[in-house]
């Protein structure tokens, strides 16, 4: 019932409003480099709109046996592929001992991705959600950016700030936020999550957990003890639900 739930709720509401959304959870113990990020975002937003990206990825992960001119023709033809054409990603991962080669590949993939994304954004709003963003820092006490964080902030968020990627909203859910300086003030807002209010506590315990027999006084006591802390409420709800097994006669001790 915390950040993750909220992000899923955002995604659901986006779908209801016919907006495309993508959710990436960095807490899923996956390795996210540029290729993985763009692939997951592509798949979540609809791969059919990213055919040129997929073609670019396939081309860049293909053997270098052509001459320069022929290769350029190959890329040009691929870029010109109609959007409706479904291109299948061969799902290769690049290996190299030369950081510049990887940088070049990633730069081309990034460029292709944002061309497609910008095109998609013209058809409707886009919502990109990133959960457990604290996993994108190498350290817990200070922010040391991971590859994923650098790409998201350096490429994605910068394009939103500069206006080259309109109609796009990004949500970062994290226990530890990366530092944003004053230059971000115009495009950034922070939403601290408060605990549940008493009516929400009641709705959760009685509605979601099915604990309809809880009295208002008991709910008030629970609220006073937990201050609406979602995880604590969840545990209490689970505990009460578990204790309320079939055949158990709950009495109120009076």
């Amino acid at each position: 019932m915390g950040k993750s739930w909220l992000l899923r709720e955002f995604a659901r509401q986006a779908t209801a409003l016919a907006a495309r959304s993508a959710l990436i959870d960095f807490g899923a113990d996956q390795a996210y480099d540029v290729l993985t990020l763009v692939r997951q975002l592509r798949d979540a937003l609809g791969a059919e709109a990213f055919a040129p990206l997929t073609t670019t990825i396939n081309t860049l992960t293909a053997p270098r046996i052509a001459t320069s001119a022929a290769r350029q023709q190959q890329i040009t033809r691929a870029d010109a592929a109609p959007a409706a054409l479904t291109v299948k990603d061969k799902l290769f991962v690049v290996q190299t001992d030369n950081p510049l080669l990887l940088q070049t590949i990633e730069a081309q993939v990034t460029h292709a991705f944002f061309v497609c994304l910008a095109g998609l954004a013209t058809h409707g709003p886009l919502l990109l959600l990133f959960d457990s963003y604290e996993q994108c820092s190498h350290e817990r006490t200070s922010w040391v950016p991971s590859l994923a964080d650098r790409w998201i902030r350096g490429e994605l968020l910068n394009r939103i700030r500069s206006g080259t990627l309109p109609n796009t909203v990004v949500v970062l859910a994290s226990r530890q936020l990366p530092p944003f300086d004053a230059n971000w003030a115009a495009v950034l807002d922070e939403l601290p999550l408060e605990g549940f209010a008493p009516p929400e506590v009641a709705a959760y315990l009685r509605g979601t957990c099915g604990l309809t027999q809880l009295s208002d006084r008991e709910l008030q006591t629970i609220y006073a003890a937990t201050q609406g802390h979602p995880q604590l409420l969840g545990l209490i709800g689970d505990s009460l639900a578990q204790a309320q097994s079939p055949g158990v006669d709950w009495s109120h001790g009076d």
Binding site: P63, A66, Q108, S146, T226
Partner: protein
């Protein structure tokens, strides 16, 4: 069973309230577990052991008889269990940590057993790191770029296996962690490496790892930060590790090397070298031969980088005029001669020295030394790779060695090596092969095969561009630009160099960018470069946001070279003055033998030749000291400083790359330059400039800084753009020849030559020149004042103003020593050594003036008027001291010149012969002055007076000397004219007696013998 909900709730609430934060969660969880069925509770506890759970993992956690599928659903039903996707679940970190703590406290053996089962489960489904795993090379026969099918699940399982192994066997787990990390790092799969280390870090948090494993993990994290371009953070981690002081040798070696790599990439070559050496020592102890070999290669590259820091080989800018070009070429050839001999002696197989024309310039010696050190490390790396059987490593080391041979100017040798390398099996790799061909193209370029080089480089550019290797594309472009330049295709050259410059700027490769800028600057200054090209180059240079200028010599030998070059010309003149004058004995038509002096041109030439040989030998000796003998540790410590100009400021960095001074352009309020030139170009060793900013903030730039004149233009341009109050350079220096001083020197040299020619009898002194005037001209010419005065101004002019801003500036000490030494030489050596008397007096004046100026410049540098006063006082005091003897010498010159005119038939000059008597009264040599008077009287026909003077000269000459013999002879001649036979016989007998005692070997006696005995003429 009825449960009192209210009481249960109270217990729950008490648990939640009893401990704040996560502790409260734990307490409530315990209640949850307490109210769950035993199997359910056990499932929850076991679910905390792995980092995530799926159906397969659940089956490993459970006993065989327990059902699985329903349990997964039961877990999923809990609100705190997270869905990770792909059917995986996980507990929150806090709850998992609490449950694990309970396991370790209460059931450690059971925990161990489950960990073991989980490790086996995960490790059975992964392939060992570094195996092919379906990798497909994108370049045939080359590992440089390949792809593998995405294997997210396999990576998850590998990380999970390592996680559990770290708990079971930390040491073995660490080995696997290192191996996996090494493979991921080598293939640049940094995201997987990040997750791997994050997984291992959880084991740290769970207290599974000891200090040794933690330190290794910290090291691996630092390497990952480095691989992902977070250099500062990586360096901080590695430095913190080093601070431990008790690292295991293997870890210490790796830490040192990784930190050295970072320093090398940041341009801190000296620090990188220190660290590489440390790591080599550690690897040698631990026997890690592969790491040792790689580090040897890195060390060679670090030294080569240091050598390249000062830019390309220094070659002096060719003058515009053909005559000066020829002179410069001759000078360079002479400087190169000792090195040519050394190269011949060393032979073709021992390339310790580059081609002699590079060795000739002291600006290149440091580079040569560092390149030689690099070569020795490359050779050791090659040998180490050979022992390991690493053919690729051997090839890389050999290529470096071949590049050095080429760099030293031996393209044929380098080509032979490269062609041999291209035949090796390891060179089948297209990527390696292309890089070897790049070196081959450089050989073609050096051999003058420009078209072949350009064609090859075009192919290579396409190859690297297709791969996307922007650094190598830029390197090839830069080389192709040079080839186009040599081939005369200026447009292509500019296009290629400009493109390469832009790429290196993007890559932040300062060294490569500066090499291109050097090439452009040299091109701009080359004679024959069109105005349009110069403008275009100017625009390129002006557009470069940051430029670096490095001093081209080490500090400790700088003053030695300065002193030697400053002393060369004055020393040559002084030695000529000592050696060239020779006494001459000339028989006159009237029978008298005249005694005088002339200037032997062969002696003067001999002095110049000897000095030249000594200078060449000394120059070569200093070169040998720096190239071969100076300890390399000292050279590393004395790396020259660098001046960096940026849009906002100008900065000085020391040899270790540490910032010393950063001066914003907007704060510069004064710019002083003391450029000493012979003609137009500042002499590197004797020039400097200072930029002054806020009080106490100044930046001094030595003339030895590479591209010193271009740096001045750069500063001027940036100051103009800075927007502050206009700052104009104040020129304090002088041009020795292109100035009033130069005119004086030319006049002085011309007069000196005229005087010498006239003295030697090659020219005749016109009777129109009255002897007093002629004597004044002679005195002026022979004193060398017209040469010495401009040199004094040139050496000591206005150093004080610069000295005021440069505490510890030693130039005034040098000039003071020069002045004092000159005075002492002139005074102590006296006429015995410095036979040109006028010069001796001038040297005393000159030395006193320079010494006085230097003293005030050292003690009170800002007091200009005081310096002038001190100079005036020193000159006045010196004049008081030398005035009388100088006047005596002048009168002697007058009498002597009058004698010469009389001997040439200008009898009117005889009146001026009496000046010799005046000279005698003022203290001049009685013998010399009497001879002048006697010769004059004889030529005038007054033999009575002549006889009298000759008699007095006999008495004035030392007893038994050949001079007395000469006086006797001339007395006999005079007696012959006077018809005094007894005097004639007596005088003849006297000179013969003296000469007989001297065995007639004396030049005077030999001349007397040749002339024959005087005869009676009346």
């Amino acid at each position: 069973m009825a449960i009192d909900l209210h009481s249960y709730l109270i217990t729950l609430i008490a648990a939640a309230q009893g401990a704040p934060g996560d502790e409260g969660l734990t307490q409530v969880l315990e209640h949850l577990l307490a109210t769950a069925s035993a199997p359910q509770a056990e499932l929850l506890r076991r679910a905390a052991i792995p980092r995530w759970i799926d159906a397969a993992v659940l089956s490993v956690l459970q006993e065989p008889e327990e059902p699985g599928e329903d349990q997964l659903a039961a877990l999923r039903a809990y609100s705190f269990v997270r869905e990770l996707g792909d059917g995986r679940l996980a507990l929150p970190d806090t709850l998992r940590a609490a449950l694990l703590a309970t396991w370790r406290r209460d059931r450690p053996e059971a925990l161990h057993a489950i960990q073991l089962r989980l490790y086996h489960h995960f490790s059975q489904q992964t392939t060992p790191p570094g195996t092919a795993g379906g990798a497909m090379p994108l370049l045939p026969d080359s590992p440089v770029l390949s792809v593998v099918p995405a294997s997210t699940e396999a990576d998850l399982r590998r990380r999970a296996a390592i996680y559990h192994l770290l708990h079971l066997d930390p040491e073995h787990g660490l080995d696997q962690l290192r191996a996996s990390f090494a493979h991921l790092e080598a293939t640049r799969r940094c995201a997987e490496a990040e997750r791997l280390l994050a997984t291992a870090a959880e084991a740290v948090g769970e207290a599974a790892l000891g200090p040794r494993q933690r330190r290794w993990l910290q090291y691996l994290r630092a390497r990952l930060l480095h691989a992902t371009q977070c250099r500062a953070e990586a360096a901080a981690q590695l430095t913190a590790l080093q601070a431990h002081g008790d690292l295991e040798p293997d870890l210490a070696g790796h830490v040192s090397r990784s930190l050295g790599l970072i320093y090398a990439e940041q341009g801190h070559g000296v620090q990188a070298i220190e660290l590489y050496r440390q790591s080599i020592a550690h690897f040698a102890r631990t026997g890690e031969q592969q790491a040792l070999a790689e580090t040897l290669l890195l060390l060679g590259a670090a030294y080569q980088e240091l050598a390249a820091r000062a830019g390309e080989w220094y070659t002096p800018v060719a003058p515009q005029s053909l005559l000066l070009q020829a002179s410069a070429a001759l000078g360079s050839w002479l400087l190169a001669l000792p090195f040519l001999i050394a190269s011949l002696v060393l032979g073709p197989g021992n390339r310790l020295l580059p081609v002699p024309e590079h060795c000739a310039h002291y600006q290149n010696w440091l580079r040569i030394r560092l390149a030689n050190v690099a070569r020795s490390w490359y050779a050791q790396a090659r040998d180490a790779f050979q022992l390991l059987g690493d053919a690729t490593g051997v090839l890389r080391a050999e290529q470096h060695l071949a590049d050095l041979v080429l760099h030293y100017g031996y393209p044929a040798e380098a080509r032979a090596t490269l062609e041999e390398l291209l035949r090796q099996p390891a060179a089948r790799d297209p990527y390696l092969r292309a890089w070897l061909q790049r070196s081959l193209a450089a050989c073609e370029l050096a051999s003058g095969q420009y078209d072949r080089a350009r064609a090859l480089l075009s192919e290579l550019q396409a190859f690297f561009a297709e791969l996307g290797d922007t650094r190598r594309v830029a390197t090839v472009l830069a080389l192709r630009g040079r080839a186009a330049l040599r081939a005369g295709d200026g447009k292509q050259a500019l296009d290629d160099l400009s493109a390469a410059l832009g790429q290196f700027r993007t890559l932040q490769d300062t060294a490569a960018r500066e090499q291109i800028l050097d090439e452009l600057r040299a091109w701009q200054q080359r004679p024959g470069t069109s105005a349009g090209t110069r403008l275009r180059i100017d625009a390129l240079l002006a557009a470069e946001p940051e430029q670096r200028y490095v001093e081209r010599f080490i500090h400790s030998y700088r003053d030695l070279l300065r002193g030697a070059t400053a002393l060369a010309l004055p020393l040559a003149l002084l030695l000529m003055a000592m050696v060239a004058p020779v006494p001459v004995i000339t028989p006159q038509p009237n029978g008298v033998i005249s005694f005088g002096a002339s200037f032997d041109p062969w002696r003067a030439t001999g002095v110049v030749a000897t000095l030249l040989l000594i200078a060449m030998a000394g120059y070569a000796a200093i070169a040998t000291a720096i190239i071969a003998w100076l300890p390399i540790g000292r050279i590393e410590r004395e790396q020259p400083d660098a001046i960096v100009t940026r849009p906002g400021s100008i900065a000085r960095y020391d040899g270790r790359g540490q910032l010393v001074t950063d001066l914003p352009w907007a704060t510069v309020r004064r710019w002083l330059s003391l450029d000493r030139c012979l003609w137009k170009r500042p002499l590197a060793l004797h020039s400097r400039m200072v930029l002054e900013g806020a009080p106490g903030q100044a930046l001094a730039i030595a003339g030895l800084t590479g591209w010193y004149s271009q740096l001045q233009q750069d500063i001027e341009r940036r100051l103009a753009l800075a927007g502050g109050p206009p700052v104009v350079r104040r020129q304090l220096g002088t041009s020795l020849l292109r100035s009033p001083g130069g005119i004086l020197i030319a006049l002085g040299v011309a007069l000196l030559l005229l005087v010498a020619a006239t003295t030697n009898g090659w020219l005749q002194l016109s009777p129109a020149f009255a002897p007093p005037l002629a004597a004044a001209i002679w005195f002026l010419a022979l004193s060398g004042s017209l040469i010495l005065a401009p040199i004094a101004v040139w050496l000591a002019a206005r150093p004080g103003i610069l000295g005021a801003t440069q505490p510890g500036w030693r130039w005034p000490l040098l000039t003071g020593a020069l002045g004092g030494g000159t005075v002492m030489l002139a005074v102590l050596a006296g006429g015995g050594l410095i036979r040109v008397e006028a010069l001796r007096y001038a040297l005393i004046l000159w030395g006193a003036a320079v010494l006085a100026d230097a003293l005030v410049a050292t003690l009170l540098p800002r007091r200009r008027l005081l310096r002038l006063g001190a100079v005036a006082a020193a000159v006045a005091l010196s004049l008081v001291w030398i005035g009388r003897p100088a006047l005596a010498h002048y009168h002697w010159l007058e009498g002597s010149l009058a004698r010469a005119q009389v001997q040439n038939g200008a009898t009117a000059a005889v009146l001026h012969c009496a000046a010799a008597a005046t000279a005698r009264e003022l203290g001049a040599s009685a013998y010399a002055t009497l001879l002048v008077q006697a010769d004059c009287a004889g030529h005038a026909g007054d033999w009575t007076a002549a006889a009298r003077y000759y008699l007095w000269a006999v008495q004035a000459a030392p007893e038994g000397s050949s001079r007395r013999a000469l006086a006797h002879y001339n007395l006999a001649v005079a007696a012959g004219y006077l018809g005094a036979p007894s005097t004639l016989i007596q005088a003849s007998g006297a000179y013969q007696q003296i000469c007989a005692r001297r065995a007639w070997a004396d030049p005077i006696c030999a001349q007397l013998q040749a002339a024959g005995p005087p005869q009676l003429r009346r």
